[in-house]
Symmetry: C2
Subunit: 339 residues, 2 copies
Amino acid sequence: MKKRNVTINEVARAAGVSISTVSRIINGSAFVAEDKREAVETALKDLGFQPNYLARTLISGKSMSIGVIAEDIVSPYFADVIRGIEHHLLDTDYQPILNSGHWSSPYEQRAIETLIYRKVDAMILLGSTLPDEKLREIGERIPLFVFGRSVPGMEERCLVLDQFKGGYIATRHLIELGHRDIVHVTGPENHQDAQERLRGYQTALEESGLTFNPQLVLHGDFLERTAYMATLKLIESLSSFTAIFAANDQMAAGARLALYRKGLRIPEDVSLVGYDDLPGTAFMSPPLTTVHQPTYDIGQALGRHVLRVLRDEESPMPDFDLTLVVRESTSRLHRGYRV
Amino acid sequence: MKKRNVTINEVARAAGVSISTVSRIINGSAFVAEDKREAVETALKDLGFQPNYLARTLISGKSMSIGVIAEDIVSPYFADVIRGIEHHLLDTDYQPILNSGHWSSPYEQRAIETLIYRKVDAMILLGSTLPDEKLREIGERIPLFVFGRSVPGMEERCLVLDQFKGGYIATRHLIELGHRDIVHVTGPENHQDAQERLRGYQTALEESGLTFNPQLVLHGDFLERTAYMATLKLIESLSSFTAIFAANDQMAAGARLALYRKGLRIPEDVSLVGYDDLPGTAFMSPPLTTVHQPTYDIGQALGRHVLRVLRDEESPMPDFDLTLVVRESTSRLHRGYRV
DNA sequence: TTGTATGCGTTATCAT
DNA sequence: ATGATAACGCATACAA
């Protein structure tokens, strides 16, 4: 089963030329006489020559690969960014190498070391749990790019979206529909994005002269279950509210189930807004109003940007906007009604 | 930014020994006098030596990496298998290298070539659109393992679940609840798994003396939209049915939306069964009854199996069972009621 | 235009 | 036990 790989040497012998000539033809690095070129090319075909990646990379110093580390590959959110990166790289000679950080600093650290060890030419972090200091350190060792996290001192290598704005427009939408008692289910307290979304929520409220009610802020962790339980408890506490803004779609699903259990209809009784616009939310019942993050486009742009930087080309970090996708989970407040 | 990497040579010089000695210590391949060992170890630390993966792999012929190609990384179904593989490999010296086939033979082919070029020690295909012949051919070049597809001639390298059984138990569940007119939304016609699930559905029907009604078979493609539209059309055609079995969870969501639009309640009016038990289906409203595929465990077992085979250890391909997870989207047929 | 020789950073094979 | 040195497969500076 293990056929010995044919080397450039054998090709040279078969074609009756030197290995340099073969190498030149493969890489197009110099002109070669037509007759020799033909001889070599047929030899290449006949023997089914495949250059050895390791030898090539060892000498050239370029591995033609980009390391990508996502907190979690399972998360559809990151997966879509990855898809964008992959898709851009498909048209290039570069190859992405994926790895997971598993939402844990030690794992992430290890994943990073592994990729550096594998000599990736650059690295993209999709989220990160490592301290700023550590990231700056890694940035000294290898061209590093970070999505979803702003690291002081390397801002030009970070792509962050305006999550404050996201929280703001989501809440604003609800207010414009006449809602006054708006619940917010937050993400993890130590998560930058979650903090920003909460700030956006709070600001939208205050701008409209609504008082910020801490009782309507439910502490979540981006997962369905916590949001489900918190919402259930809120309903049982008889707090009055007519709308919920969840800091991500998964928690929106959790909240939605709690409402369902209690016989509350969406959007007739309660309006619901999510965040992320995951694939599938368009097919929730009813389809979810949510803040769209252009993850696929971000991935593509990120891929392009990284390659440009690697080629020393001028390339500003791309910029993206969040938009609200209004579907059917929100509606105008029915006067006088409250939960 | 580009610090020159320290090599084994510099370490040797710093410790006052030869490179062979250093190599021996790094690899523990032979005994070394205690004093030299200490000298080398401090030099190793002081200089922050990191072995060069490329050079190492070039000579040893082992890249310590496993290529994994999924049809689509975005699909939560495959992502969970990947997570399992990753998790098992985490405790070993092996490293997974991921790639996507993008549900397209040319892309898949290219991804495979790329990974072979990168000298992965083995390759795992999570689904495949390539013809059997092609897969056998690749299996000649590199240790190849396939999940979700049975390839004639290399059965012992393929891990397949009994999708027939899955379709069977899903349908059977519905029948036991008293349903007679059961719709099936299929996957792509040329997809092995989809065919098997359909067969399971059909067999369960026939075994119970129910006639197979082709009109109740909706042709889907594993995506929400198609299932949504087909279900909508079915309802509008006034066909009578009281239950739906969708060949995957995504299509179940599509069907569910169609029912919602038409004011049909689940499970009071129509019972619904999905397939895959994706993360999130437990938080659909209502939580979805679905066929559970132990994807994470499969990934782990697959990783372990591959490594064993690589070490020439005896290792039968692991075997897994499908189970039905009964949640709240199915209920006993209300006598006399039909859509 | 073409060939020879050297180097990339290791491990493996010899001697000693 | 240790040190030279060959070898891995390729690219490239230099010589011709």
